[in-house]
Amino acid sequence: MSVNITFLVITGVLLATGFYLVLERTLTRVLLGIMLLGNGVNLLILSSGGRKGAAPLFRPDLPADQYSDPLPQALILTAIVITFAVTAFLLAMIYRSWTLTSADVLADDTEDIKVSQSTAYDEEEDSPVAEDTTEFVDEEGRPIREGEE
């Protein structure tokens, strides 16, 4: 099987740009990144079907290099539909995020920040225990301590 090198280079550029954009905090850039990733992968699948530009039509008497493999094209169709749905969903989510916070930037998790800023000191476990705590009391309710009668 021979592979079109232009396809592979374009795939590489699309994927690299896509991954770079996905690492951004701005949601519209992330969306653009995801679209580029989707297209890059689709090209990769297409190039896995061989180089031929021939139609994906098969006749029993046709030699193998005279038609192109239809399966990658079917896979791409499915992948396009899925990317389309996910893109639409993300767009709706970005719009919602913009309506709620009027910012296009992904916020930090507040719980995360709280945990990272908390100290190792734990009130429940590390606070000094008072000397005279005991659960055992005599009839008048006075605590009984060790060594006392």
Binding site: V3, V30, L37, I45, L75, M93, L100, E111, V115, E124
Partner: protein, 533 residues
């Protein structure tokens, strides 16, 4: 006509159910009836499927009569049938829980009416991923369940859920892209995406391309299964969702990733080329996850961290390989699904009972909520690995399998496993001591309502004195019944009982797991069932 030819119904029924449930979205009672009915029928079907393959049979269903490797095939063997049945049991329990919650909160039509259709589609995706016998169908199964999970995670679209949902969606999409790259390269290298065909053709490749495909697929599944360092998205995104959604996600979604890892490791890449790496990753997943859990004050976040931490045990089992380790992994997957889901359901109950699931605000729950305490305690110590529960049996099986002719690295990971088990117990006991044992007034941020209720219960107990000591308990039970609808309690209880059943019937179940493991390692049953039409 074999009974197992009905296997596609496990995917088709929920899909059609989702359509029907969406059509009747204005009539919420009918919608509930359809969803529960569909799940019950699916459950019966899957129980039948598991019974049919219990003895170790494998059966391939060729959709539309197209022969493999050209057509789409579904594989029913012990592993897929076991996972199907457990996932449906869990989702039915969660559905009852959600329904009861909805009934108690009043039936408001609105965006929430999309819950039932999305839930059914999620299940269809999960079933499809379990049954898929080719990589691309597995990808489609993943996408179906992920798309449904996006909707469920952002239900109601509050600011917090949108923030968490964005992280989740972006991470999931990236993992899908990597999976798709893996599929494209696999197809380019072998000319097939059928797993049985791949099992024959992949070993004929050079080791270089094999390793690339192997690692690509592992990364894709590793993100889905939340394996360290690809796990950090999970504790950020799960806890904000509604309680039933978090419960079902915790039970099923990561385990679909684990299922895919077990399948590919045993069937497609049996050489164990990356086992040493997997061992290291397993140890890191376990230890770092559980350290994260100890640092949390929010119970749901703590549970999310224990969830990722215990995925490490499953990866450990896969990395050790061999019949016993794989059998223990399969048993542990079952345990993990049931226990994590029941704990997240309990977290929802705690939130409902006490207004928050943050340990800094809680106390006195053992006195105030006796049934809830029991529902928490059993799965919690099960998770902590206390004998005789299934958590102990699963971990024992894994460590026992690993200790047989173990090298130095394996011993280190065994140590990490034991440490993680101990730390899990610590995390659980800390929560127990704070939420349930200490007085509500001693909490860092006391909840006045809880303090008030605790005082009332204490008064009643004192008033009853020695003659009627149960008066306080009676009041506590009344307060509990008012806050927690019976359906939610019983749904959680049924899953806790399922967890105990996994312990009681551990003998036959583990024997079954061993049969399944032998089948997975042998390959021939799978390949013959698919390719010899």
């Amino acid at each position: 006509m074999n009974f197992l030819d009905l296997a596609p119904l496990a995917v088709v029924l929920p899909i059609f159910g989702a359509g029907a449930a969406f059509l009747v979205r204005r009539r919420i009672k009918l919608q509930r009836l359809i969803t529960i009915g569909i799940l019950c029928v699916t459950l019966v079907l899957e129980a039948g499927m598991l019974a049919a393959v219990w003895g170790g049979e494998s059966y391939a269903v060729h959709i539309g009569g197209w022969q493999s490797p050209w057509g789409i095939s579904l594989m029913v063997d012990g592993f897929s049938a076991f996972m199907l049945l457990i996932s449906t049991v869990v989702s039915l329990a969660v559905l009852f829980y959600a329904t009861s919650q909805g009934l108690a909160d009043g039936d408001e039509p609105g965006p929430v009416s999309v819950f039932h259709p999305a839930y059914l589609i999620l299940l269809a995706g999960v079933s499809n991923a379990f049954l898929a016998a080719d990589l691309f169908n597995l990808y489609v199964g993943f996408e179906i369940l992920l798309t449904a999970s996006y909707v469920l995670l952002t239900l109601g679209a509050t600011a917090e859920r949108i923030r968490a949902g964005t992280t989740y969606v972006v991470v999931s999409v990236v993992s899908s892209v990597i999976f798709l790259m893996g599929i494209a390269m696999t197809y380019a290298a072998t000319g097939t995406v059928n797993m049985a065909d791949l099992a024959v053709k992949l070993p004929q490749l050079d080791t270089g391309p094999q390793l690339i495909l192997h690692v690509l697929l592992l990364i894709a599944f590793g993100i889905k299964a939340a394996v360290f360092p690809l796990s950090l998205w999970l504790p950020d995104s799960y806890p904000t969702a509604p309680a039933p959604v978090t419960a079902v996600f915790a039970g099923l979604l990561t385990k679909v990733g684990v299922y895919a890892i077990v399948r590919t490791e045993t069937l497609l890449f049996p050489g164990g080329a990356v086992n040493a790496g997997l061992l290291v990753v397993a140890a890191l997943t376990m230890v770092i996850g559980i350290l994260g859990a100890i640092a949390q004050t929010d119970f749901k976040r703590m549970l999310s961290f224990t969830l990722t931490s215990h995925i490490g045990y499953l990866i450990f089992g896969v990395a050790v390989g061999g019949e016993l380790a794989i059998a223990a992994t399969i048993y542990y997957v079952g345990h993990h699904i049931i226990v994590q889901t029941s704990l997240f359901m309990v977290a929802g109950l705690i939130e409902r009972r006490a207004g928050s699931a943050n340990v800094t605000r809680l106390g006195s729950l053992a006195k105030l909520s006796p049934a809830l305490s029991l529902l928490f305690f059993i799965p919690a110590i099960n998770l902590g690995g206390i004998p005789p529960f299934s958590g102990f049996l699963g971990k024992f099986g894994l460590l026992h399998a690993a200790a047989q002719d173990a090298d130095a690295l394996t011993w280190v990971v065994i140590g990490a496993g034991l440490l993680t088990s101990l730390l899990t117990l610590l995390a659980i006991i800390r929560v127990w001591a704070r939420m349930f044992w200490r007085r509500a007034a001693d909490a860092e941020i006391p909840n006045p309502e809880l303090v008030d209720e605790a005082a009332k219960v204490a008064d009643q107990t004192a008033a009853g004195g020695a003659q009627a000591p149960h008066l306080g308990l009676k009041l506590a039970r009344e307060l509990e019944a008012a806050a927690l609808p019976w359906g939610m309690r019983y749904a959680t209880g049924s899953l806790v009982v399922a967890g105990i059943a996994l312990t009681v019937f551990a003998g036959p179940i583990f024997e079954f797991c061993q049969r399944v493991a032998a089948q997975l390692i042998a390959h021939e049953p799978y390949i013959n069932a698919i390719l010899n039409y």
